[in-house]
Assembly symmetry: C2
Homo-oligomer: 143 residues x 2
DNA sequence: CTAAATAGAACTTATTTAGTACTATAAAGG
DNA sequence: CCTTTATAGTACTAAATAAGTTCTATTTAG
C-alpha cells in the first residue's frame, strides 16, 4: 500500500503539538495526554526524534522536550527518515547491495533510482511548517 | 522504510520481460524461468495484473500472457496500484475515514493530502517505458 | 536522598506481506 | 470426448516487519 509507518505519522502529530509553543518544555506523558496517543509509544518517538537532532531534551525533574529548530527549518523528509529509515522505494536502489535476490539476472538494476530521487526531493522540499499550514505553493490548494 | 512491496517490484520486472517481445504469449512458468522469481508468485502477479487490465491473457493449451498496451502507455502508478493498493502515504488521507484512531483530536486532519498528491502524480507521469529506458527528462540524468 | 523526568535496550505482540495449495474453468489436439 | 496444458480464483499458512511494552540506567531539581 506504499505508505509511511504509523510512527512517522504520530511523529508529525507530536511535532505539530510541540510547534504550537516552540519555547516550552513538554514531557512525554503530557504530550501523550494532549495528542491522545499511547504514552510508551510517544516516549519512544520522542527519544528517536531527539537522537536525530530534531528535538532537544532536558533530563531530570522539570525536564522534557522542545523543538531544536523552528518548524520551517524541519523538512518532512528528516522526520520520516528518523522514524522510518531511509526513503527508498525499492530494495535494489543505489548502494543497497545485498537486498535484491535477482540482482544478477535483473534487467532493470537500479532503474528505480530516478523515482526514488523524485519522491525524496519532494519530501525534502516540504517543511513541517508547510505541512501544518497547508495551502502553500507546494501543497495543492483546496477551496 | 517507506517502500513499495516486493510484489510491485517483481511486477515491474515481469512486465519488463514481457515488454521485450510485446507480441508474444508467455506462460507463467516460462516467465518464472527467465526472471528467476518463484513460480507461484509470478503466477499470482500475472493474474493480478490481468485483472487490472494491464495484461491480456489466453487460457488453455498454448495460452499465456501479453501486454495489453505498449510500455509507454502504462503508468508506473497503475502497476503499483494494481499490486499494492492505492498510493496513499498515510492512514488519515482523503476518504479513509475509519483508519485513524486520533482523528477527533487531531490537529492535522488530512494535511498529508498534498504530499500524497505530489507523489501520486509523479508516479502517474512516469511510464513503464521510461522506467526501462532510464535517462529521460523525468528521470535524473546520470553522466 | 528522593522524586520526576529522559536514555536506551530488550522483549513480546500484532499486523502486514509473501508464499503456497487447491479447485474450477477454458482451449487445443488426438 | 477425453486428456493435457494453461489461466482464474480463492483460501490458507508462514515469514517478515512494525508496533507496543517493559525494565534498567542516568540525570537533575529540591
Ligand atoms: S529487481 Fe533488484 S536488481 Fe533488479
Ligand atoms: S493523524 Fe490521523 S487524522 Fe490526524
Amino acid at each position: 500500500m506504499i505508505k509511511i509507518s504509523r510512527m512517522a505519522d504520530y511523529g508529525v502529530l507530536i511535532l505539530a503539538e510541540l510547534a504550537r509553543e516552540p519555547e516550552a518544555l513538554r514531557t512525554a506523558s503530557g504530550l501523550s495526554d494532549t495528542t491522545g496517543l499511547p504514552e510508551p509509544t510517544v516516549a519512544k518517538i520522542l527519544k528517536t526524534l531527539t537522537g536525530a537532532g530534531i528535538l532537544r531534551s532536558a533530563r531530570g525533574v522539570n525536564g522534557g522536550y522542545l523543538l531544536q529548530k523552528t518548524a520551517d527549518q524541519i523538512p518532512v523528509a528528516a522526520i520520516i527518515t528518523a522514524l522510518d529509515g531511509p526513503i527508498c522505494l525499492t530494495a535494489c536502489a543505489d548502494g543497497v547491495e545485498d537486498s535484491c535476490a535477482v540482482r544478477e539476472t535483473c534487467s532493470l538494476k537500479g532503474r528505480w533510482n530516478g523515482v526514488n530521487a523524485l519522491i525524496k526531493s519532494a519530501l525534502e522540499a516540504m517543511t513541517l511548517a508547510e505541512l501544518l499550514e497547508s495551502g502553500t505553493e507546494k501543497v495543492q490548494k483546496k477551496a
